[in-house]
Structure formats: C-alpha cells, structure tokens
C-alpha cells in the first residue's frame, strides 16, 4: 500500500472529473474525517486516514482491501472506475439520468440506456460526458457515458441509445469473482 504518485493522481482525477467535476474537492478537503487515496497492487482505494494508518501494520501480500475501492489501473496505465465507487459518484454527481421502472431491469442486466427508458435527464449535458444513472425513486443504479447531448437526445427515436453503460449494480453479481480480487 502506498500513496499515489503525481501522474497516477492526475489520471484518477481526470476520470473522476468526468463524472463529478469540481466536486472532487469535496473528496480531498474533508475536514471532519480526512480521507486519502491509497494504491494497493493496482487498485486505488479511498480510505480515511485513520484506517490507512492502521493498515500499514498489515503486510502487503496479506492486505486484501481497505476503505472504498474506486477502481484499478490497467496494464497500459489507464484508470478504470468500478461499481464500488458508485456511492461517492452518486453523492457528488454533476449530470444525472433517471430511468423509468420498465428500463431498470435492462440496465441492471448490462444493456445501454434507450430513449424509451429515460424518465428525465439533467439539462445541458454535453455529448460523451459521464453521467450517474438513478431510478425514479432517486436510488443510484450505475453510471455511464452519454451518446448524445440533451438537446439531440430529444430528437432521437425511442430505440436510440442515450447513454452507454459503464457500470451498474448488477456487476456485484456478474463480476463477483473479479471485483475484489485479480
């Protein structure tokens, strides 16, 4: 376990900024319970400093996980967000899409969001921006990337794709084997 280097921090922040924008500052500047980013093997964890200090007592091969796993670095150095980061993404989301009850199951099964399933969406969402997907009862289901901007998606046909799925809550079951271990 070690802190992130400057290059790694930049890559992680670029990814997070796509979804939560300037609210990353809320993650860093938490005065009540200061948190920090730690890297264990190739996974990035967001953990309170108090717990991070305890985890230094555990040997590296024995340390499985700590805090919240935001994602992992791929072999090529890119950062991939995991569904385990949804809690923090949902709290500080910049752009949101709410899907109707009939669209929830297709999304949780791993399909993209069609226009027919969209209940409402934030105004002025640019194209290819990260969005957090909610149900109509405001419970977070996952996150994705917009295929079209809000204005263009109004003129889409009902079977057109509004957002590409990047992560959904169904991954806890589908990716059970690889989500917490390599």
């Amino acid at each position: 376990m070690r802190p992130l280097t400057e290059e790694e921090t930049k890559v992680v922040f670029e990814k997070l900024a796509n979804y939560i924008g300037r609210n990353i500052a809320n993650l860093i500047n938490n005065k009540e319970d200061p948190h920090c980013f730690r890297l264990q093997k190739d996974r990035v964890y967001y953990v309170s400093e108090h717990i991070a200090k305890f985890s230094t007592c555990i040997a590296r091969p024995n340390l499985m996980s700590l805090g919240t796993c935001l994602g992992k670095f791929t072999k090529t150095g890119k950062f991939r967000l995991h569904i385990t980061a949804l809690d923090y993404l949902a709290q500080h989301a910049k752009y949101k899409i709410w899907i109707k009850p009939n669209g929830e199951m297709p999304f949780l099964y791993g399909n993209h969001i069609l226009k027919a399933h969209v209940g409402r969406m934030s105004d002025d969402i640019p194209e290819h921006t990260g969005v957090v997907v909610f149900s109509m009862s405001d419970s977070p289901l996952g996150f994705g990337v917009t295929a079209k901007s809000t204005i263009e998606s109004r003129r889409l046909e009902p079977t057109g794709i509004v957002a590409f799925r990047q992560g959904d809550a169904g991954e806890y079951l589908r990716e059970e084997d690889t989500l917490f271990t390599v």
């Binding site: 070690r2 280097t5 002025d124």
Partner: protein, 189 residues
C-alpha cells in the same frame, strides 16, 4: 722456521667450444628435433612460491585523470557541459498541495472541453432551427400560392355561374311577363 713455497695462482681457462663461437659450424651440426617442446606441469606464472605462499605482486600505480589534473574529454556520447541527474529513479508521491494543483489543472481542462462541446451543440442547434424555419416559410408560401389559385379558380366558376344564372333569369322573366296581373281589391260596402 718453515719456508712455504709460494703457490702459483691457478690459471683458469675457459673451455669454449668452437661450435658456439662459429655460427656456420653450429648451424651445420645443430640437431634439429621435430618433437614438440615439453609442456611443463607447473604454471610458471603462478604466484605460489616455494612453500605455496602467494607472492605479493606489486602493480604499478595508475593515476586517474582527476589526480593528474587533465580536463574531461568532450565526447559526443557524453558531452562535458550537460549535467544529468544522478541517483536512483524514485517515485514522487503527491501531497496535498500537489493534489490541489492537479485538481485545478484537471478542472480547467474538463470545463473547457465541456464548454466547447456545449457551444458547438448550441451553434448546431441554432443552425438547424434557422434551416427549419426557412423550410417552413417556403412551405407556407407554396401553400398560400396554392390556396390563392384555388380561390381564384373558384371565384371564376362562381362568376360564370352567376352570369349564366342571371342570363337565364332574365330570359325567363321576359317570357313570363305577358298580361299584367289584376290586383285584388277589397270593398267594404
């Protein structure tokens, strides 16, 4: 008293063979063996001395260029003026200040990107809107022209009909005029 005879000093003579002195003779009489020279079992170069103790071989002292005061050679691979950082390549961890700085940089880049995307989307939307209005105006014009033509044609027909009707009515009236009708009168006698 004993008298000692003086001994003449012994004359020493060297017995030098003519073969060694005369080159031609030695050349002719020399035995040329074809056998290979014997290889000795022992390594004459080994350091071990008589009792197997290593001999101390003193190497001549090599002076470095620095000690001699010679300036560094300016090679193309290793130019003299350029200083490269030495030491182990380590990781520079990001502290709070670094994270804040990186955050600001990333935010600026993302905001610029999003702003440009939104601007482009709005510009495209404005263009589409203006095109749509143009098309609608043209269609409206065509429709109006069509309607006016239709109404013109209708009016013509109506006029013709009216005129023909009038003409018919006039002829019918003329025919039916004949003897004047007596008005009925009522007398109160």
């Amino acid at each position: 008293m004993v008298l000692h005879k003086k001994k003449a000093p012994t004359v020493r003579r060297e017995n030098v063979s003519e073969l060694s002195g005369n080159k031609q003779a030695s050349n002719q009489l020399a035995v040329k063996s074809t056998a290979t020279p014997k290889q000795s079992k022992y390594n004459h170069r080994s350091r071990s001395g008589i009792n197997g103790v290593a001999k101390k071989v003193k190497k001549p002292r090599v002076y470095t260029e620095k000690e001699l005061g010679i300036p560094k050679l300016n090679k193309s691979i290793d130019p003299e003026g350029i200083k490269r950082p030495k030491g182990k390549k380590g990781k520079v961890f990001a502290d709070e200040d670094a994270m804040t700085r990186i955050l600001l940089q990333v935010n600026e880049a993302v905001d610029n990107r999003n702003a440009s995307k939104l601007e482009r989307a709005r510009a495209l939307e404005a263009i589409r809107e203006s095109k749509r209005k143009e098309i609608e105006a043209k269609e409206e014009e065509k429709k109006q022209a069509l309607d006016s033509m239709k109404s013109e044609i209708k009016n013509k027909k109506h006029k013709l009909r009216k005129e023909t009707k009038k003409a018919d009515v006039a002829t019918i009236d003329k025919k039916s005029e004949g003897p004047a009708k007596k008005r009925k009168s009522v007398s109160f006698k």
